[in-house]
């Protein structure tokens, strides 16, 4: 079942990678669809992150704030992840 799940995920992903190029060679997408698709990455990540930060409580909120702060200040992915985990760990240890 795990193998099947990974296969399906891989096919879905490749459909996005190659299908977009293939499809938009055949048809012109409407400006509304184009504009909506351009909003997908940001709104999708917000929708993933915000509920899990809230659900994770203070530990997650502290980690999220530290990650965001370091990312804005340094634009360094590794530093931001480390800072987020460290802040989350600190709050977790304080309990």
């Amino acid at each position: 079942m795990t193998t099947l799940a990974i296969l399906l995920m891989g096919l879905a992903t490749y459909l996005c990678r190659a299908g977009g190029y293939w499809l938009f060679r055949q048809i012109r997408p409407s400006p509304l669809l184009r504009s909506a698709l351009a909003y997908v990455p940001g709104t999708l990540f917000v929708s993933f992150v915000v509920p899990s930060l809230i659900q994770g409580g203070l530990q997650s909120l502290a980690g999220g704030a530290a990650t965001l702060g370091v990312m804005i200040a340094t634009s360094n992915l590794l530093a931001a992840i480390v800072a987020g985990v460290a802040a989350s760990w600190a709050v977790w240890g304080l309990r």
Binding site: M1, T2, T3, L4, A5, I6, L7, L8, M9, G10, A12, T13, Y14, C16, R17, A18, G20, Y21, L23, F24, R25, P31, L32, R34, S35, A36, L37, A38, Y39, V40, P41, G42, T43, L44, F45, V46, S47, F48, V49, V50, P51, S52, L53, Q55, Q59, S60, G63, G64, T67, M71, I72, S75, L77, L78, A80, I81, G84, V85, S88, W89
Partner: protein, 235 residues
């Protein structure tokens, strides 16, 4: 379409050289995915298979966050489809290159297309770079680093065995939070992102234990943004 296909070894190597600094950014992301995969109960073989075949970190992390045994097939497939929708828009941008190349070169190049090497390739193409092999050349090293660091992350997770809820797993969320910082396109994102935050939180509360909150938030936020922009253009 009259111009000959340009797909050379030199272009391949130039892409591979230009992508090297970005590999450093991919490695921690791969490690985090490996740790998350181990935490979700996947074997190292399954982890390598997922990283090599799906090869899309954000969707892998979302799927692993909702993973179960047996895995929810519809949910993880939809997660991959929706998280990777952005790739639908990225391929066509490279049309001027890809339209002049035939067969496997196109489809293999698209298989290794990710946010990072796509951005590199668009830059090279816009500067007048004629060689479509640049996309594949910059993609293959990233793919290799991704698969290897996922495996290393799995081994690390196995050695540490962090319990569920351990702050180490926060790394997966941290990846998304940092990527959000780079996705902010200015004030026009404020309302769509706000709508996405509200709707996703509400749906997560109404339908606990499912992943519909991600879909609902993304659809509501994107539709809000697109409809608002159209209304503004009409004025």
């Amino acid at each position: 379409m009259t111009q000959p296909a340009v797909f050379t070894r030199a272009g391949l190597l130039r892409g591979a050289r230009d992508v090297v600094p970005l590999l450093l950014g991919v490695a921690p992301f791969g490690l985090v995915t490996g740790i998350a995969s181990q935490g979700a109960g996947l074997s190292i073989g399954e982890t390598v298979f997922m990283s090599g075949f799906v090869y899309a970190g954000a969707s892998q992390l979302v799927a692993l966050a909702i993973w179960a045994h047996p895995p929810p097939l519809l949910a993880v497939t939809l997660a991959a489809l929706i998280v990777n929708l952005r790739l639908v828009l990225m391929g066509p941008v490279l049309g001027p290159w890809l339209d002049r190349v035939r067969g496997w070169r196109v489809w293999l190049s698209l298989f290794v297309m990710t946010d990072q090497n796509w951005a590199l390739s668009v830059r090279d193409m816009n500067r007048g770079g004629p060689d479509a092999a640049y996309l594949l050349g910059s993609g293959l090293p990233m793919w290799g680093v991704w698969v290897v660091t996922s495996a290393v992350g799995h081994v690390a997770g196995q050695a540490l065995r962090p319990p569920p809820g351990h702050p180490l797993f926060f790394a997966a969320i941290a990846v998304f939070v940092s990527m959000l910082a780079g996705m902010w396109r200015g004030r026009r994102d404020l309302v769509p992102w706000g709508v996405a935050a509200l709707v996703s939180t509400a749906v997560a509360w109404l339908l606990p234990g499912t992943f519909w909150y991600i879909v609902a938030g993304a659809v509501a936020g994107s539709a809000t943004g697109a409809l608002r922009d159209r209304a503004a253009d009409a004025r």
